[in-house]
Structures are given as structure tokens and as C-alpha cells.
């Protein structure tokens, strides 16, 4: 890998989008917290630097600062929003504090020449997305204003002459989709200003990982826990390509899976690709332990611990194993930056993080550089079927946290039937791939209804369909009314024991995607 863009994160909600846009342009990028030193960055041998936005106000107590060394690395720098203000302040420009935040679309007039505008029609304005309080009043000496809006005199600045250091800045967020020409501007920075050769592709990624894994593993054994989700399946197929039968996969059926999903993955991997795969039927063990448990945290912990127990037993049966493979993704790896300190733990996460220490194994995390969409592209590259590649994220504790209150076989069955209808209808209408996640939840109450001339007391199913980029924030999907009506109608008519369907119309925050 030769080209690499380093993104310095000042805490913006959309920093990850910068990295994704850069990668979509075929250039590898990494995000590092703003506490990373210039020397550390130098060691990464970057081709260019991007300074992200952030919620702070330059100069206020506790606000993140700029390591001046970033500008001495000899590579082009692009400052976005807060990044722009840091650059302006450091280079001698003038800032204005503002109590009011400008948030939303603005029309950008590209009034001064800039390589960032290459190929764009500068005679017309272009729609960009703003989210800032402070503004740059005057550009630093040696730099000139290259764009403005109706309310903003300095919306972008660029070096006055080719001899000035290659520092560029924009007040708006080119990484956000609402900035219509944002993508073109970022590409201009990468290819015109920084003259980077795009060499990041999934084909090259797969080749590199395969040779790295082979070198690291040698003739030793690797174990991998399959969940039925896209991440662990891609890990398994990738490792199988690299080390064949040295990979041992374990799939634990905890009785909390969706209808047919576990079987599909097992059939594909074991029967189609001939992987070493142990399918462990542990439904009774999990369901017996869950009897009478209603507290969500308790459910999660119980399932997590039991999973580790089962997995350990199975792994031990394999014999000597040195490595544990996991489907960790890049968003889990990025150190989060928050001006208020590290953010509180939302939920006890369900993964096998507790395993390596206990079992004395080394971790292999071949996807730790990738975003979710890149994992899907790797899956495509490896020939996985669409039904697995586009599978929605599914929580570790499975349907147990979607059966609110006590988990019983009967209630799991009701939920599975309702959920199958949700999946089928989302797929049939083409919405499955447009949304982040869509599923059913069984509520812990019964409500009155009418069946013929009699009254009934039956279950309520909630429908949760959300749009999200990274699962950190999410909004409920505005599904067309006829699809909503079709899903709820089918559930009420076809799933025995359900007489009511509600649609969850809550964003995250303050709600969450899952309910428990």
C-alpha cells in the first residue's frame, strides 16, 4: 500500500464520512484522534492530511489545538470547519466567535480560483452543508478567499501563490452527501493538489490480507466464531482462502436466531465451500438459562457468558489452537474523541472480547481496517451470495433482546413468524437494501381486541426500521404507507396470537435501534 491519507479527528459527528469518501475515491485513509503528534503522523508516511470539524470553539478552555508540526510534514493539508478555523488562527487569519450555530444548506459562490473547484461550473453557486458557530473573518496572510455564501464572507481559502505551503480550507462539510459537489472537491484535493495515485481496492486488499495471514499463521490452527452475520462470514471465507483446513469455524445455535438464517450460512460454508465447521445445537442450554430472566442487561450477560462457555468447550475439542479470528470493523477500532471525555458505555457489548485472555490465543482481525460497506465489497469479491452480503446487522444476543421481558419458546416463535414477514416484505418492495436495519420486536403486554363477536387478549408486535450510517445515530425510515399497511396487515392476519402492530418512530438518540 503506497498512498495513505491521515484524518485528524477533532470530534465531528461526521469525521468517519471523510474517511469513507476518501476510500471511495480509491485512496486508503485512517482516522486518528487530534492528540496524535506530528512525529507519529510522520511515521505513518501520509500522502496528505485532513483536519476534521468539531464541536469546540477555537481558543476556549479545553478546546483541541493544532500541532504546528502537521504543517511541516511536507504534505498538503485540508481543513474542514473547525479544521479551517484552527488553520486560520495558526497562520494569522482572523476569527469571529458566534453564539449562534449555522446549521443546514447554503449556496456557495466559488468566487476565487482554486484547484478544489476544478471541473466545476464556477459561474453558478453550488449547494453545500454548513454546521458551525465560529467563522473566519479574514484569511491568513498569503492566502485568499476562494468562496463565500450570503451570510459568510470567507467560506473557503487557498494559497495565494504556488510558493505558499499547500494548505486549503473550507467552512462547509464536503464529506456530507448534501454538499452536492463535495465529492468532486475532495477528489480535487486528493488528485490535483496532493497528486495521489488511487491504489486502494478490495482486490488488492484481499490479496494483501491473504498473504499477511499466511505469514502470521504458518502451519498453526485458527478458530473463528460464526454468528450468521456478514462480518464473521467474510472473515471465515477470507481465512479459508488463506489457510484452508487450518481454519476451524464454530457456529453456536443459541435458539435465538432468525428463521433460516443460521442454516443458510452453515449450508453455504460447509456444504458449498467445504469449510471445517462445527454446528453446535445449544438451544436448550440457552433457553433453559433464560427462564424467568426479564432484565435486559442480565439477558445480555447471560447469553454472552454462556456463549463463551460453549465456544470454549468446542474450541478445546479441536486441540491446539493459537489464533482466534474476529470480525472487528474499523468503526470499533477508531478511538473516539469527545471534548467532554470518553463517552459513557451505552450497552454491555456482546462479542468474544473476553475470550483471548482466558484461552491464551492471539487475535486475528482481518477486517479491522474496513468500514461496513467495504466489508460487503470484500464479500462480493469473494463470491458470497447477496442474501448473506446484504444481511442486516443482527445483535449477538439475537432475538432474546427483541422478545421484551421473559424469553420463552412460544414467544420466540411468534416473533420469528412476524420477523419473517418483515424481512420478506422489505425484500419484495426493494427496501431491504435501502435501510440499515429492519426487524420485529415482541412487546411484553397483551391488549384487548375483537375476534368475531368476542374479545381477545393478544400480543403486540413493534416494527423497527431505521436508516443509519454507522449505528451511532439513526432515524426511523419513512416507509411508504402502503408497505407499512401491508406488513402490519400480514402480521395481524398471519401470525396467531398477534392483534396489534405499532411502528417505532423514534430517532437515536434518545432512543436506540434495539429495544433492550
Amino acid at each position: 500500500m503506497s498512498s495513505k491519507v491521515i484524518i485528524i479527528d477533532y470530534g465531528s459527528q461526521v469525521t468517519q464520512l471523510i474517511a469513507r469518501r476518501v476510500r471511495e475515491s480509491g485512496v486508503y485513509s485512517e482516522i486518528h484522534p487530534c492528540t496524535v503528534t506530528a512525529e507519529e503522523v510522520r511515521a505513518m508516511r501520509p500522502s496528505a492530511l485532513v483536519l476534521s470539524g468539531g464541536p469546540a470553539s477555537v481558543g476556549e478552555p479545553g478546546a483541541p489545538t493544532l500541532d504546528p508540526g502537521y504543517l511541516e510534514l511536507g504534505v498538503p493539508v485540508l481543513g474542514i470547519c473547525y479544521g479551517m478555523q484552527l488553520l486560520a488562527e495558526h497562520l494569522g487569519g482572523r476569527l469571529t466567535r458566534s453564539q449562534v450555530r449555522e446549521y443546514g444548506p447554503a449556496d456557495l459562490v466559488m468566487s476565487g480560483e482554486s484547484p478544489l473547484w476544478k471541473g466545476l461550473d464556477t459561474t453558478k453557486s453550488t449547494r453545500v452543508w454548513m454546521s458551525h458557530g465560529d467563522t473566519v473573518q479574514a484569511p491568513p496572510p498569503g492566502f485568499r478567499v476562494t468562496a463565500h455564501t450570503a451570510t459568510l464572507a470567507v467560506a473557503a481559502f487557498a494559497p495565494d501563490s504556488p510558493s505558499t505551503r499547500p494548505v486549503y480550507a473550507v467552512q462547509f462539510h464536503p464529506e456530507v452527501h448534501h454538499s452536492v459537489d463535495g465529492d468532486a472537491m475532495l477528489r480535487n484535493f486528493l488528485f490535483t493538489v496532493a497528486k495521489i495515485t488511487p491504489d486502494w481496492s478490495m482486490t488488492s486488499f484481499v490479496e494483501r490480507v491473504i498473504s499477511e495471514v499466511r505469514a502470521a499463521v504458518g502451519d498453526r490452527q485458527v478458530v473463528c466464531a460464526l454468528s450468521g452475520g456478514v462480518d464473521s462470514t467474510v472473515v471465515a471465507v477470507l481465512l479459508h482462502k488463506a489457510i484452508g483446513k487450518q481454519l476451524h469455524c464454530i457456529f453456536v445455535d443459541n435458539g435465538l436466531l432468525r428463521s433460516g438464517e443460521g442454516e443458510e450460512v452453515v449450508t453455504y460454508l460447509r456444504d458449498h465451500l467445504d469449510l471445517n465447521l462445527k454446528f453446535v445445537q445449544a438451544q436448550d442450554r440457552f433457553l433453559n438459562l433464560l427462564k424467568g430472566v426479564t432484565d435486559p442487561e442480565k439477558k445480555r450477560k447471560l447469553i454472552g457468558h454462556t456463549f463463551i462457555d460453549v465456544f470454549e468447550e468446542e474450541a478445546r475439542a479441536i486441540g491446539k489452537v493459537d489464533f482466534l479470528a474476529q470480525g472487528t470493523l474499523y468503526p470499533d477500532v477508531i478511538e473516539s474523541v469527545s471534548p467532554k471525555g470518553p463517552s459513557a458505555v451505552i450497552k454491555s457489548h456482546h462479542n468474544v472480547g473476553g475470550l483471548p485472555k482466558k484461552m491464551n490465543m492471539k487475535l486475528i482481525e482481518p477486517l479491522r481496517e474496513l468500514f461496513k460497506d467495504e466489508v460487503r465489497r470484500v464479500g462480493k469479491e469473494l463470491g458470497l451470495p447477496d442474501s448473506i452480503i446484504w444481511r442486516h446487522p443482527f445483535p449477538g444476543p439475537g432475538l432474546a433482546i427483541r422478545v421484551l421481558g421473559e424469553v420463552t419458546r412460544e414467544r420466540l416463535d411468534i416473533l420469528r413468524k412476524a420477523d419473517l414477514i418483515v424481512q420478506a416484505e422489505l425484500k419484495a418492495s426493494g427496501w431491504y437494501r435501502k435501510v440499515w436495519q429492519g426487524f420485529a420486536v415482541l412487546l411484553p403486554l397483551r391488549t384487548v381486541g375483537v375476534m368475531g363477536d368476542d374479545r381477545s387478549y393478544d400480543n403486540v408486535v413493534a416494527l423497527r426500521v431505521v436508516d443509519s450510517v454507522d449505528a451511532m445515530t439513526a432515524d426511523w425510515t419513512r416507509l411508504p404507507c402502503e408497505i407499512m399497511a401491508r406488513i402490519s396487515g400480514r402480521i395481524i392476519n398471519e401470525v396467531k396470537g398477534v392483534n396489534r402492530v405499532v411502528y417505532d418512530i423514534s430517532p437515536k438518540p434518545p432512543s436506540t435501534i434495539e429495544w433492550e
Binding site: V345, I346, P510
Partner: protein, 435 residues
């Protein structure tokens, strides 16, 4: 009653009310009577100008055909037969047109051509008629009224205040399960503006105490109903010399309780059930009015539109919308969320267009996140439905923009709530209310 009247005879059709309302819409008063009405009773109906025998598919009960007495067919008033085969008659309609306008057109020749009925049915005359009747019935006696703040009891109160003024004694029991601002409005309109004798009883604590820990819906309804009677009775005993009890019975209550096959789906909440030693004579001035006519009457009496167009509200109030055992926290959440919903519907021009809309707070929590920390709080459920007769109901397809705004406000303004749900279930198989 000075107005000309057309009697509709009930042979088991579900369309009697629609027929009577169409006749009234043409300005001719109409009443529904059982098919086996006696010759004397029929003759006693004032200003009877015609009879409609309304047949239909349900006119055989236990194998016996339902039929009106022979005297009806051979009497002095003209007869129209609808969807019913009997004898040689001059006037008949094969089936009732589904469209109300076409129905009216079909009825016109019979009403005005054959019966020569005079279209003299209007609200102003109804009110003056009723005032006269009430005064005649009550004399110098005292009348007691349980004023809930709902449309029917409010209109009864307004009518009685106009007819007998200080002889009316209103009791408003605030059971703590009212919507936001409702008790306040009752006091403002009836005590401050209309100068009624109003005893405002704040029994919130008493009701919530009785309801503590009661989770079963039927038990809740019964507890609320029984406690209401007890509070009302106590107030009634404080007043001496009461002879009459006014009630907001309306015509559909009478017509519906008359059909012998209908099953009662829920225990009804009303003032019936007072102890045997308290016999009052009933005053029911609205018992011949349909709901829309009750509203017109209220407007004609000068009641505020917000009261007259108030949505149907169950007797147990927010009690059946705070699911399971009622707690103060969740009751407050239902009330605040309901106020936001009503405000936003009002702003969006939907009040009066959607039959009923309200909020429900169930007794379970789910996970959320606020300021980076985990929350475990209650959801709020929104319900908005349309119905013609409350027997079946469809879900109102609301704009996502409106729902988004309501959700945003509820999540920001109502403490203890971290999730909002929209109920997508029609009746049947769901019901309008959740308990």
C-alpha cells in the same frame, strides 16, 4: 313537539339510524320505533305524517319473520316500504341507496309529495321545545347532573341552565384521569361564564389511591366506575330536595341498546348504579338527538367549539390509556403527550377531520441513550383512527413529517419517555382503545 314526524320501524336492519338521519337532514323530524309498536303507541306519536318500514336481510329472528302489525299497513298515515316484500303498496324502495345524497333524493317524493310533511325541524325550535318540556317536567324541583366535561353532559348542562338556571346542581368529579386542562375548562365555562351551581370535586388522590396496584383492565374500569358512583352519591346526599337526575343519554344509546343481538364488549361507564334509596326521576333532553345534532345544539347554546367538538373520551379517562397498574409518573406522561398530540393535530388542521386520536403509555421500559448515557424509560404510543360507527376503525395515514414533529416534541418535553410508537392496527382485530 310541534314538528311533523316520520316514524322508522325497526325490522332488524343496521341502517335505521342512517335512514332517520337522512330524513332529519331534509328538515323532517324522525324517530325509530320497534317493529311491534302497538296501534295505540303509534297513534300517540305527535304529528306523525308517515311510516317507513325498513326491512333488510336481518328480518328473521329464530326462524320467525319480523313483521309490523297489520294496522300499520292499513292505517291512515302513508307507508313506505324499504327492502321488504309485503302486500300491494303504493310506495316502496327496493334497496337503501348507499350514498346519503342519493338516499335523500329517493326519500323526497315520499316525505314532501305523499306525506306532505313540513320541513320544520331545526335546532332553534328544538331548544325552545325542550326548554318548555323541561320546565313542565321539573316545575320548581331541583335537578342534579354529573357533569363530566364531555360533549353530551356539557350540552345537557347548557340546556338546563337556560331552562331552569339555579334549579340545576352540577357536580364535576375530577378523578385525576382527565386530559390536560379539561377540569379547568369545565369550571371556567360553567361556573365562571354560565354561572351554574357547580360543585367541583377534586377526588384525584382518592381515585389514585383506590387504583394503586390494580393492573387488570376490567378491574380498573370497575374500580373507577364504583368509586365515581360513591363520590357522586356523597355529593348528592349533601344536597337536599333533589328530585331529578339529568343524563346525557343520546339517541344512539337508545337505538343500540334496543337491538337484542348485540353483545356488550366492555362494561359501560355511566351514572347508573346509584343506590336504591336514591330514586330520581330522569331528565334526558338529548335522548332523541344524534351526535352531530348534539354538537349543533351545543353550538346554538353558545358552548365553545373546543368543548362541543371534543373527541369521544372513555369514562375511565386516561385510566385505560395508562396501561396496567396506574402510576403518577406514567399518568403524567400520558397526559403531557396527549396534550402535545392534540396541539400538533390542531396546528396541522386535523382536529375535526380525524375521529379520535390519543396517546397510550404501557407498563414496560426499553433502552435509550441521552447525553451519551444509557436510559431505561417508557414508550408513548400514538393512536389516530377514523370510524363511522366505532364498530370498525381504520388507521389514519398521517404524514411522516407530522409524526416526526410530534415524536420530537414528546421526546424532548415529556419526562421519563425515550421512545414513540405509532399504532398501525385497524379494528378488528385490534380495538380503538388498548384496554
Amino acid at each position: 313537539m310541534k314538528q311533523d314526524m316520520i316514524a322508522v320501524l325497526d325490522l332488524g336492519s343496521t341502517e335505521n339510524s342512517r335512514l332517520a338521519r337522512a330524513i332529519r337532514a331534509l328538515g323532517v323530524y324522525s324517530e325509530i320505533h320497534p317493529h311491534d309498536i302497538s296501534a295505540d303507541a303509534l297513534a300517540a306519536l305527535p304529528n306523525l305524517k308517515g311510516v317507513i318500514i325498513n326491512g333488510g336481510p336481518n328480518n328473521i329472528v329464530n326462524g320467525v319473520p319480523v313483521e309490523a302489525g297489520d294496522f300499520v299497513y292499513h292505517g291512515s298515515v302513508p307507508v313506505l316500504v324499504v327492502n321488504h316484500h309485503n302486500g300491494p303498496l303504493p310506495c316502496s324502495i327496493a334497496t337503501l341507496p348507499e350514498d346519503d345524497e342519493i338516499l335523500k333524493t329517493a326519500l323526497r317524493p315520499f316525505l314532501f309529495g305523499v306525506c306532505k310533511a313540513h320541513p320544520g325541524w331545526n335546532m332553534a325550535d328544538f331548544i325552545s321545545d325542550q326548554m318548555e318540556r323541561i320546565r313542565r317536567q321539573v316545575g320548581n324541583g331541583k335537578v342534579l347532573l354529573a357533569l363530566s366535561g364531555g360533549v353530551d353532559s356539557s350540552v345537557v348542562a347548557a340546556l338546563l341552565i337556560r331552562a331552569i338556571g339555579p334549579q340545576l346542581y352540577c357536580v364535576h368529579v375530577n378523578h385525576g384521569l382527565m386530559r390536560k386542562g379539561e377540569s379547568e375548562q369545565v369550571v371556567e365555562v360553567f361556573q365562571n361564564q354560565l354561572k351554574a351551581n357547580l360543585a367541583y370535586i377534586d377526588a384525584s388522590e382518592r381515585f389514585l389511591g383506590k387504583l394503586a396496584g390494580v393492573a387488570d383492565p376490567e378491574q380498573k374500569r370497575k374500580t373507577i366506575g364504583a368509586e365515581f358512583i360513591r363520590v357522586f352519591e356523597e355529593e348528592a346526599r349533601k344536597l337536599s330536595g333533589i328530585d331529578f337526575l339529568a343524563q346525557g343519554t343520546i339517541y344512539p344509546d337508545i337505538v343500540e341498546s334496543g337491538t337484542k343481538t348485540a353483545k356488550a364488549v366492555k362494561a359501560h361507564h355511566n351514572v347508573g348504579g346509584l343506590p336504591a334509596d336514591m330514586h330520581f326521576e330522569l331528565v334526558e333532553p338529548l335522548k332523541y338527538l344524534f351526535k352531530d345534532e348534539v354538537r349543533q345544539c351545543g353550538l346554538a347554546l353558545g358552548l365553545p367549539a373546543s368543548m362541543v367538538y371534543r373527541q369521544p373520551f372513555p369514562g375511565p379517562g386516561l385510566g385505560v390509556r395508562c396501561l396496567g397498574a396506574i402510576t403518577r409518573e406514567r399518568l403524567a406522561a400520558v397526559r403531557e403527550a396527549d396534550a402535545i398530540l392534540r396541539e400538533e393535530f390542531e396546528k396541522a388542521g386535523l382536529s375535526g377531520k380525524v375521529w379520535q386520536y390519543f396517546t397510550v403509555v404501557p407498563d414496560f421500559k426499553s433502552v435509550g441513550v441521552k447525553n451519551g448515557a444509557r436510559t431505561f424509560e417508557f414508550p408513548v404510543i400514538l393512536r389516530a383512527i377514523n370510524t363511522v360507527d366505532a364498530m370498525t376503525a381504520t388507521v389514519e395515514p398521517l404524514s411522516w413529517t407530522l409524526l416526526g414533529r410530534i415524536t420530537e416534541r414528546i421526546l424532548a418535553e415529556v419526562p421519563g419517555v425515550n421512545r414513540v410508537l405509532y399504532d398501525c392496527s385497524p379494528k378488528p382485530p385490534a380495538t380503538i382503545e388498548w384496554e
